[in-house]
């Protein structure tokens, strides 16, 4: 399906993370917008968030389900994302393709995405077509019809997607290996797209069983941003989603949690396509929803001070002063229903080995742990993050995504509104404390990405699946 672009909000993705949970309610304009955001709950359990924005006669409509890759049964990895694809395969009322055809005909855009914690679908359409897309979404919320004739070819599509996104992308391969090593027990250690050998075995029954366990109005949040008033949106929602019965057997997300993390881990991925070697470090840290008050916000500031932009410690020290890196950065991925991640990365300059680079990175972290950050760094980080959020607010889809993502990962509308004031309250001491407590190597995996110079014939065992045939 070439018209459907599937987006992963990959937990390792740096760009997606930079926007997580930023909400600019501190600015005057944004306060007004924040005040007008409406949060409803229908009788069948569906939550509706409306973000009015009348600059153009269009709306962004997103429906989010509280289910992601981390909710898959062990051995069925990739199922949440597979179901996302299969949601386009039609219902008794609307045969496969009709929904997308209608969106295209009215000049709309559509998209879908799967993360560890949620699955979402969105359309951007002229306001007068909003009810149409809501009818389609309400229909496929519980009315999906699947046959092997549509399921099996789509399985080939996701396998090819894995080829493109993962297997032909050394950095993505490194991230996959690092997640598998970082999480000793939690399903976040499995790739969202799935392990190939498990994707190959996914069936129609697997998809329908998963669908019935997790899709329903009582597990969904609809976010509408755009040229509509809350009451009008509520009326449309009641006429469409409101007609869907709650699903009795919807399961709450409850995943195996992590044991204490006690061993620093390292791994090396050699890939012949690597042009730029790299060091990546991921620490297991609290997410926004699992952190104690203030901790998550302190980690946001820490990520910014250490590794965002040309004024960051990493850039100044590793790229400019010591010239050991050609690029370097850090980020905090706060947006997760369970634990979050704090990441560091750098690519070495000419003649610099990865261990040398890692040592230099560690020295920067050690200095923050020992001496903390300056008042100027603290204020610059806060101002910058809030300003970024204000600029980004200009994008209807981003706004809808922030709210949706927050509501999917254990936060509330109120949490999103309060976030800037919580960010403002962070002290330099809290940032230093966060660095000391959470940037502990025992909670981390360090990955080296290097160019594999061995001829392909010498790599057979590593690139073959583990053999599992039985003798008898």
């Amino acid at each position: 399906m070439t018209f459907k672009q599937t987006v992963f909000f990959a937990r390792a993705a740096i760009i997606a993370c930079a926007f997580s949970l930023l909400w600019p309610a501190q600015s005057h304009a944004a306060e007004q917008a924040g005040a007008r955001i409406a949060d409803f709950k229908l009788d069948n359990g569906l939550q509706l968030v409306v973000i009015p924005d009348h600059r153009a006669p269009v709306v962004t409509h997103m429906i989010w389900y509280k289910v992601g890759a981390a909710d898959e049964t062990a051995g069925k990895s990739g199922l949440a994302h597979f179901l996302e694809h299969l949601m386009f395969k039609g219902t008794a009322k609307n045969p496969a393709g009709r929904f997308s055809t209608v969106v295209a005909r009215i000049g709309g855009q559509e998209n879908a995405f799967t993360s560890q914690d949620y699955t979402g679908y969105y359309q951007r359409v002229p306001t007068e077509q909003l009810k149409t897309v809501m009818e389609f979404e309400a229909d496929r919320m519980t009315g999906l019809v699947l046959t092997d004739a549509v399921v099996l070819p789509e399985r080939d599509v996701i396998l090819e997607e894995r080829n493109q996104r993962l297997e032909n992308n050394p950095r993505a391969r490194l991230g996959e290996q690092m997640d598998a090593a970082l999480f000793l027990n939690h399903p976040y250690g499995r790739p969202i797209i799935g392990w190939r050998h498990e994707m190959e075995g996914l069936t129609r029954d697997d998809a329908l069983e998963f669908y019935k366990r997790f899709y329903g109005p009582n597990d969904a949040v609809v976010v509408i941003a755009g040229d509509i008033e809350p009451d009008a949106a509520l009326k449309l929602a009641q006429e469409t989603y409101g007609q869907v019965k709650p699903q009795a057997n919807i399961q709450q997300r409850k995943r195996p949690q992590e044991p204490p993390q006690v061993s620093p881990r390292t791994l090396t991925l050699a890939d012949p396509r690597v042009e730029q070697p790299a060091v990546q470090r991921n620490y297991l840290v609290p997410s926004f929803s699992t952190a104690k008050p203030g901790q998550s916000e302190a980690l946001e500031v820490l990520g910014h001070v250490v590794g965002t932009g040309a004024n960051s410690r990493f850039y100044r020290e590793l790229v400019v002063n010591k010239r050991v890196a050609t690029s370097a950065g850090a980020y905090y991925d706060s947006s997760a229903f369970d634990m979050g991640k704090f990441g560091l990365y750098a690519s070495p300059g000419t003649g610099v080995t990865l261990p040398q680079l890692e040592t230099a990175m560690d020295a920067v972290i050690a200095e923050v742990v020992e001496k903390g950050i300056t008042a100027e760094e603290l204020e610059r980080a806060k101002s910058r993050m809030i300003a970024d959020a204000i600029y980004a607010q200009d994008n209807q889809a981003s706004m809808a995504r922030w709210y949706g993502q927050a509501l999917m990962t254990g936060a509330t509308v109120e949490d999103v509104k309060l976030w800037p004031s919580r960010l403002k309250a962070v002290t330099a001491q809290q940032v230093q404390d966060a660095a000391r407590e959470w940037l502990d190597k025992k909670r981390s995996v360090t990955g080296y990405l290097i160019k594999d110079t061995a001829p392909p014939s010498e790599q057979p065992a590593s690139l073959q699946p583990v053999k599992v045939e039985k003798r008898s």
Copy 2:
């Protein structure tokens, strides 16, 4: 329950592995014994193996269930072992304690054990008491009765067992961390005894649900070694186990398998109680039941040549010649329903760092990969392994355990009988090929065990469970 000693056939345990699947049918005496081993199947699916041995008027009676820690639902780690403990808590017919009291009164011994792949119970009693223990085992096969009054205190017992076996044992802690890093997807990555935070939540309902899914005659193998003839044992089995109805909902073992292993991993465990640092390397390799014909036997020889005894490459090169190690060894753990492991280990001599020791270990492995082993090494390894098995045959319980373990991990009685002739057929070329194909670092985890010299107050984050409380 102080009288019940629970044994883990831990997959990392070196001593247990050395005996795996060794069966001395090549010797004249053993051939006779082998010929007299009987293999029956009752109508309800129960398999009975009888190994006559009339030297003393006693029998070793073992019942093995095809369920282990690897069959636990994610999030319920430790459940198979917990159920093993709870199996002593009584039935409607025999209240808690009666079975053990009877065994003790007649001067018998009893034991129980849980592995990743099986759970077993055994008694060694005078032959005339065999029927009594079979009646007790048949009764608790489906008749277990559990109340919270017995379940909850027993949960404290397994938690204390974890304290003793794992948390106070740096080498066991290292092994736990290495398994978690070696297996990216397979449940062998979880500890048999369970992660503490999951053990704390195990309930009566969890145990009973697991029991009903996995315990029944159609999932069990009884092995009797000792002073009894096959027909007499069969008659007793029919009168006892034969009366138990097959369980309709017994589930076949089917575990998530591994993706290709592409990244060499390392980890470091620092523990204040370490007196002797060590390097451990585990490779993911085929088990006896997943290997191609000859591969597993070649890995047995490889393990012996590289790391068993004073003539091994590791001992000669690392301990005697280079003096970089005070001890060193290697082993192959072939006995697994899914994949096996090949392990290397060494402790450094004075003034030798762990990276230096690892480099020396790697050099030994590289030489075997490049140049293979000598004809003398090959023959010595084969002779020694067969001789060891002959000597070990003297032990009734070991014989029962070999057969039971083999039948639990996908092998047959015939496989066990044929094993020595398969071992004899191994060539030096096959051993070199096995080293080249399977001792690939991409399929491995290397663990460093070091003494933690930091004061306890500086280790808080690492020794605390990951916090999971929610804000809202």
